[in-house]
């Protein structure tokens, strides 16, 4: 796909250069004004938002920064409105080439190329797959004086850039967005004709499908890891809300719980168990159900309320909404599946709806403290905190896509 450039050309491009990186937890970049799209800025923003790099952007090659790694790049206009680009990642102290990349892309693909370069650098330097080419879906609820609120679903880049409108509903809320494992569909809860139901929408075509519409509550969709089943919380017109699994080919339901408010089911990455929230012992806590032998046990005892869990795809943590004391803040926390340790990641006062990046490294969520949802980003250790740019409105139900490959 990428047309390589002859070596001589590369050298001259670097002389005409736009990009230069150094790292040891420091990434440095050099940009020139003639770049039609601010590639250095995108890569710098991606890498620094991961919390793993300190990034400097320079406008001239050769400035010494003392950083461990250099990212060096060049760009030149090629024919038919396309651009030739080259990137080199160097160990600045050992003067060794770690990786290089050449590309020829049209103007419209320069920003996605920049995210791919961030992925390449991130993977090379951390050993972890980068998520800078994945997507974040979210709901933006726009209140209007004297008129019904407009609910819009956007699909944006993982850094919040380039939001694209997928679904718009006037006066009809949308919630509980979740991606199918193949990245083709987003399931959600909504209210066509005023009645609650679970739907899915095909991201490429925009075609909607109604998946579950029973009396009362139809909520909390969660695709199984192979995409063939969906766990959900239904009330079936009764007092209790229970966990069911639907076979998506036949729509046949299997009921898994029988008493109380049971909701927010999530599949363990190995498909062998479901974690869900239940108030069966009084306050909302997490429970684990082994799908092989039917064994059920309570998972969380720390805090007065724990809800809305999501698994990190590596299965090591559950990221969830956690309230330690009755009057305390509701924060995002990471529950270590092996040790049972609850690590607080955010401050509150009301942080909601966590969603985890497909490399298990980052957590997006909404800050609801002022009554207006704001999309925010932290990492699995809670060491970085970034507010992401979004479209206008109260931001709700963020959902991180899987890797698209």
């Amino acid at each position: 796909m990428n047309r390589g450039l002859p070596v001589k050309r590369i050298v001259s491009l670097i002389v005409a250069a736009f990009l230069w990186i150094q790292c040891a937890y420091a990434v440095q970049m050099i940009a020139i004004q003639s770049i039609p799209h601010n590639i250095s800025k995108i890569i710098a923003n991606d890498l620094s938002s991961s919390g793993r790099f300190k990034v400097f952007v320079y406008t001239h090659v050769g400035q010494s920064s003392g950083a461990q790694y250099d990212l060096l790049g060049g760009i030149s206009a090629s024919r038919y409105g396309r651009f030739d680009l080259s990137f080199k990642l160097l160990n600045a102290q050992r003067h060794t080439l770690l990786t290089q990349q050449f590309a020829n892309v049209p103007d419209a693909q320069l920003s996605s190329l920049a995210h791919r370069m961030s992925d390449l650098v991130f993977h090379k330097l951390t050993g972890i797959r980068g998520i800078f080419s994945t997507s974040l879906a979210y709901v933006a609820a726009q209140e209007r004086p004297g008129s019904p609120t407009i609910y819009r679903v956007y699909v944006a880049n993982a850094d919040g850039s380039n939001p694209q409108l997928l679904l718009q509903q006037i006066g009809i809320p949308v919630a509980s967005l979740t991606w199918s494992p193949d990245g083709q569909n987003i399931a959600y809860v909504s209210y066509d004709n005023g009645d609650m139901a679970i739907y899915s929408i095909n991201v490429a075509t925009g075609i909607r499908t109604r998946i579950a519409d029973y009396p009362g509550i139809d909520s909390a969709p969660a695709y199984s890891p192979d995409g063939s089943e969906m766990a959900m919380a239904l009330s079936m017109g009764h007092d209790d809300t229970n966990i069911y699994i639907m076979d998506l080919a036949t729509h046949k339901l299997t009921q898994l719980t029988h008493f109380g408010n049971n909701t927010s089911p999530v599949w363990a990455p190995d498909s062998n168990s479901l974690i869900f929230v239940s108030n069966r012992d009084g306050t909302p806590q997490l429970y684990a159900l082994n799908l092989q032998n039917g064994q059920l046990y309570r998972l969380t005892y720390s805090g007065v309320q724990n809800f809305q869990p999501v698994f990190t795809p590596d299965g090591k943590h559950l990221v969830l909404m956690h309230q330690k004391t009755t009057s305390g803040p509701i924060v995002i926390a990471a529950y270590n599946m092996q040790t049972g340790h609850m690590q607080t990641l955010t401050q509150g006062p009301i942080d909601k709806s966590p969603t985890v990046s497909p490399n298990s490294d980052m957590v997006a969520y909404t800050q609801y403290g002022r009554g207006n949802g704001v999309l925010a980003l932290t990492n699995i250790t809670g060491t970085i905190h970034v507010v992401l740019p979004t479209m206008a409105g109260s931001i709700q139900s963020p959902a991180w896509s899987p890797f698209f490959n």
């Binding site: 919630a175 108030n279 909601k352 002022r370």
Partner: protein, 178 residues
Amino acid sequence: MKIWKMSLLVVSMVSLSGCALMGYRSSEPKTSQQAQIQSHGLGTHKTYSSYGAATPSVSNVIYFGFNRFSLDYKAEQTAHKTVRYLLAHSAQSALLAGYTDPRGSQSYNFHLGQRRADAVKQYLIAQGVPAHQLCTVSYGELKPAATPAQFGGDWQKAYALDRRVEVMLGQQVCNGKG
């Protein structure tokens, strides 16, 4: 932003007290604009549109305590106005929509909203309203009635307005609902 929210609140308070003073003649269901759904595939330029049912107007609001879904004396008094109206208008149906404040998770709060709507439904049935005139839906925390900013950051006042069941009247309002 703040100003129009305040004015909205004032308008809704006036219309609520209007209901209380003038009985139900002033609160005959009015259809507001058609709810519209549009989806756009990101891989195509196609747009799909559908028109939902007309949104019925709110005729009565019953409030609840924190984490509660039982009707206290004041809530029963408020609900009784709906009893009188529905007994006098047997062709009318009432959609009871349950809501919560935002403390809790979206999914967890659907249950509480549903239990509030169910509690009002049970009260109306106990007062003689035929069950076939009633239906319920839960919006949980998805449609807050107020924000703390409207009350200078006093979230307790805002959240008290969120914890509610809205009674919506209309002849078609329960069609196709459980």
